[in-house]
Point group: D2
């Protein structure tokens, strides 16, 4: 990796870059972009692309907004051309007529993004460019169509088939580990010692997806605890000073934290693939494992409890309420209200058990009154669960959870 | 790499695959494809994709043709929908209306190909699938539009920014080296000993591009000789028993063979990037290098000579004729008739010198009467040469070659 | 590795070397050796060592002989000093007195060899130096004591704990593979295609030991076939065009060829460790394996048959004779006459079965009339077998082989 | 590495170990040691060795002492045998007679240590065993001879030719980095952030030696700052928030901290080789470097100052006193009193400059009143300096330092 990253920071590249267009550096980013789309693009592509990305990086908010406006408006499709090439193609289908339609129907900004991606390190910079875009879109929804193009390209580039699963452990490079500390989104890692406790013991695992073009940047990672039986609280799982077990003696793998790392890849889904590959990996190495389960937060519970004004304070009832929430609270589209539930149920998991006092950290109490949930990944049921969830919006759940939920009767 | 490739050939995958749809194996490939595009696709994607690719691999020519027909016709765009979503978008531009247009304007087969690519090893199988397509297209040009979609996706997936340059030498894995032997297209390698002579001496280099998803398959490779001065024949360059020089003593790097390896990637251009990266790499490691040049065949020369009935047999005149051919023989689009010339001139190189008796192998005599040409990559002139070539179709050449060409006067 | 090997071929080393002693290159190898043992040795050690090894490499047979004579005579122990320091030590044991004895009792040539070993690549050159020594010793047995010192040092440097087991397969570097071809001592590999057949199929394995200081040189390697049941001929095992089985389906691992690679390491035993580690490795990866067996030549059989004039030509009797030979033919020290038998029995294996027509190659017929033998490595019996073999010279054998041997009655 | 380390923690090894001697675990460590030296040793060696090392690890101080006593007394040379084999050898020199002498003259404990070293991980455990020995020797000097044997073997095993130089940076494994934090002996690293400041900036380097058999344990490491000009204080060098320079712009490499990591390797010298290899490595990569210098503590200064009662408190005089100390204060053997001075001067460096207020940390003030010294490694003078130092005990120094020292006149 370091081999590649060093490749172009060389005398050669500096020499070659100078010859591209001596005045390139003084030119407007939009002119450079047009060059990159034009004849120069083939041979001087990576140099032009670098200049554009450098100019973008130096731009202020106004400059970035202007660049996005250029992409949106100046590199837009021409509706007349779309319709005409479509007619021609349908009238006389051929490679040539279809090519004309294909070119016309796709905005030129997509081609520009593909060419910007030629640069060594370009992918990472485009991901961060989209992060800017997403944040500007909140104020300026008109940028929305531009994001459709980003998402389209990223879905293709970050295809699960291109991703590399790497185990993260105490032999991993410090530069990766410091990102794990930074990106952990569920149960904060507060120091290198804390990280060591998550990675180093024999009964802990961590896996991340990487893209070959961004070898130093984890995309998503999952933390796993190997246990005997299904755990009912994160405090026990992460207790300082606990005695680790031998990995070979574990019957259960607990996915207790999944964190996305790249804000610029929002909406590009890796979680499903990650879990499947990690399950495959663990199954192969540890023959005794037969249960794959999560220990997950219920981030929407507290708010829902407040709304429904059902303030149950004894242990029994908050678990029942949590079960009720997970099984019955829905969005307008009839999918579960809870985002974590949507993710795991969408992957084909089932609601397996709920536990009170399972995360008594400040954050855990605030979000869900300390309740957590196990989602069960039963390999033989995943496809069916998933299909019912997607087509009929059915929530798979254990009998116990189902009963618990049914025990909640609305106050009359 | 082997780690990854082994990942899914596991008990787990077999177990999981069985549960997807027990009767999946008996189902038609087209039904599986529809499932992959539908709700099942998200969770059972890689299993479905594998089943489809396996069925395709087992299919006979008729079966493959039928699958291509299905892609072409059943997963085609709906013109009415394209036009309507386009209207809606233009009437009220928004993320949602543009998304609808983007989905409609792209045929579903593209999404299918992207999902087939999720499988570990899928990229390689799709490349070989396109190889089938290209060969069928020769008889059935109606398949042309389908190839446009392949080319579109491959250009994005095989973006130069995603490729990895690796040096090939005598420490490279045998499984890579046997492919170098098989794919060498210019000067055949006739044995492992011959290969050793090309790779092992201190004054030889070989570099190949690889894609991370096809780590065992070189995409294109170039063989380089490090010399003192510009060589004028391939016999001398490859002479058995010659005395190698120290790499540090070379002033010239000669690109004497460039071979594409994947028929299924025809039309996806890597050569320009490869040469640029290799020049960068060599420049960094060997400070004394100041000349980058090819020793190239002129594959179209013999036929052109036959056509123009100018059968000059003494040394002087065949060089002059070759120069004349390279500088003046054109296709209908006014680009050079010779394909190798188009490639290097398109990259910004210049015709530097021509040499008679430079390749006296059977193949060399048959193609070009033994004449070879040096194309010069002068770093400071590449962008200009390229731009003139692309915009004005000008052929850059040395004064010597220019004079040589001018000395040829048509028989009156 | 290449990183390290390149480290000292640098401008720095050349510069530094020049300053060591400008006239060093013109000096005698023995003077350089004395310097290396003296005060200069600490700081200029690696440069002096390189000069010595270079001079040695350039020397002719006479020069090498002279250098060995120097080591033997000039760097010999001083018996008076040995005895005196011994007395002092015994009279007043202390760190200092013991150190004096330790230094005196060991000839200075050992320290010289250790200092020559400081050079990058020194180990390999010392191994080849001993190869010269072994060959000269045949004519000049007086060099024998010198070899005792070599053997002493090599046994320490090539301690099994320092060796690295690497799998050799079709992804191994060509430079390693060509050595496998060259060193195969049992069943010759006649081409790269033949090598591929030995390494590439799913039911084949090859493992070699390497020393970290000679990373490109296999020390010993073993070829393994994974089979169902114990094979009775090498022809079947190596048949061109045979259908490989899945490794997971094998119940037996057959060690059918073990080759030492370094003549200069004669007498340093790796075979026992190699087999043990390979058994461990295979056991871990392939749970179904329960039998570890060899298919071995009987190199001494033919000669023994000739001697005893028992020319049995039908199948039954040659197998019986072979069994008889393995169980009863002894050297003066009462160990088995057959060298391969000594090796495997010494490792704790047992004679399991003999097969006629098992190696019908020219070599196989010449050495042993085509008969081969399986030695069985039964994990639970290895220590006992070994101990009985070493202490009582007992040959462990199966009942069947024992009966077969007993069936041979001397002609009266 | 992890591949190897995992190799024997397998079911196989456990199975095999059980068969070695079912009652081995109950036996005395000394009996096991005798077995390891006897017939069993060859085949069951690594299992026996592991049992011995495990028993040793579990032993209390008494048990360890007893084991050392056993090594010292029971595995001692037999003086009679030494003298007799020596006579035989001298009377009739031959391989056999010399072998007999060689075996007799070396105590059996050396062979035992070599056999203990066969175990995967054995080297590391023997190093820690010697650490125990060194600490016990302080109270019980009779153990001294035992340490001579350890030192003898370690010098051979940790030969510079076997060591691997690895760069340590922010991509290094956390498990290595935490050892760097722990072992830094000169300028303490107080956190991971502090470590990052030492390793990550473009103008910092760190290199360590590793032994292949202890891949996770640095043996010694050096921290380097790349600077313009020679620095005169460690505060400036390590200042938080300082602006790094480009490595290519540096003309000077400053070795500002060298730390040995393994107490059990005391007396085995790596520092000289480390500095030489690092200089070679830096020279190759950074052409502009022309000065190699240390910034070193003067640990003996404060005590010497106290002794000589020359309490000079103004800046000028403490530098002069420091110069005087370095050039004139000697041990009984006429070598410099200061240990750091002995190390660098012994390597061929020269005292180049002294700086007051150069290390104002508590430790710096306590040891040397804040004074530091630059030792200069001038490649062209190293061999001469070294030779004069070793043979005549001459201290090489710059004219400036020499004058400074001469300015100090003893109080009459």
């Amino acid at each position: 990796m370091s081999y590649l990253s060093g490749l172009f920071s060389t005398a050669f590249e500096r020499r070659f870059a100078r010859t591209v267009s001596t005045d390139a550096q003084g030119r407007k980013i939009t002119d450079l972009a047009r060059d990159l789309l034009g004849a120069q693009g083939e041979v001087s592509g990576s140099t032009l692309a670098r200049l554009i990305l450098d100019q973008y990086a130096r731009a202020d908010a106004e400059g970035k907004k202007a660049f996005f406006a250029f992409l949106l408006n100046d590199l837009e499709i021409d509706p007349v051309e779309v319709v005409e090439t479509l007619k021609d193609y349908k009238a006389a289908p051929s490679k040539r007529s279809y090519q004309a339609y294909a070119t016309a129907s796709e905005p030129k900004r997509q081609e520009l993004l593909r060419r910007l991606n030629q640069v060594r390190g370009g992918t990472k910079r485009l991901v961060s460019l989209r992060q800017d875009l997403l944040s500007m879109m909140r104020e300026d929804p008109k940028l929305g169509p531009l994001d459709v193009d980003f998402q389209h390209l990223f879905a293709s580039w970050f295809n699960p088939g291109f991703l590399v699963l790497r185990r993260i452990n105490w032999s991993s490079p410090a530069e990766i580990l410091e990102k794990i500390i930074a990106y952990e989104a569920v149960h904060a890692i507060d120091s290198w010692d804390d990280l060591r406790r998550r990675l180093h013991p024999a009964d802990r695992r961590c896996f991340a997806f990487f893209h070959p073009a961004m070898p130093d940047e984890p995309l998503i990672f999952v933390e796993v605890a190997l246990t005997q039986g299904i755990p009912n609280s994160v405090q026990t799982l992460l207790a300082d000073g606990r005695a680790p077990i031998e990995a070979e003696d574990a019957d259960t793998a607990v996915f207790y934290s999944i964190s996305n790392c790249q804000a610029g890849l929002a909406g590009i889904s890796f979680g499903n693939s990650l879990i499947k590959q990690v399950v495959a990996d663990l199954s192969r190495d540890l023959a005794a494992l037969d249960t794959f389960v999560t220990l997950s937060p219920i981030p929407g519970l507290r708010r829902w409890l407040d709304q429904v004004q059902k303030l149950g304070h004894d242990t029994a009832s908050i678990e029942a309420l949590a079960a009720h929430y997970l099984l019955t609270a829905k969005r307008d589209d009839r999918l579960p209200a809870d985002p974590v539930a949507r993710f795991h149920l969408g992957n084909g998991a089932a609601v397996h058990a709920v536990h009170a006092n399972a995360d008594i950290s400040d954050n855990g109490m605030r979000q869900s009154g300390g309740v957590m949930v196990n989602y069960l990944y039963d390999l033989s049921l995943i496809p069916t669960n998933h299909e019912h969830f997607v087509t009929e919006k059915t929530v798979a759940a254990s009998t116990a959870v189902r009963r618990l939920s049914a025990s909640v009767t609305p106050k009359s």
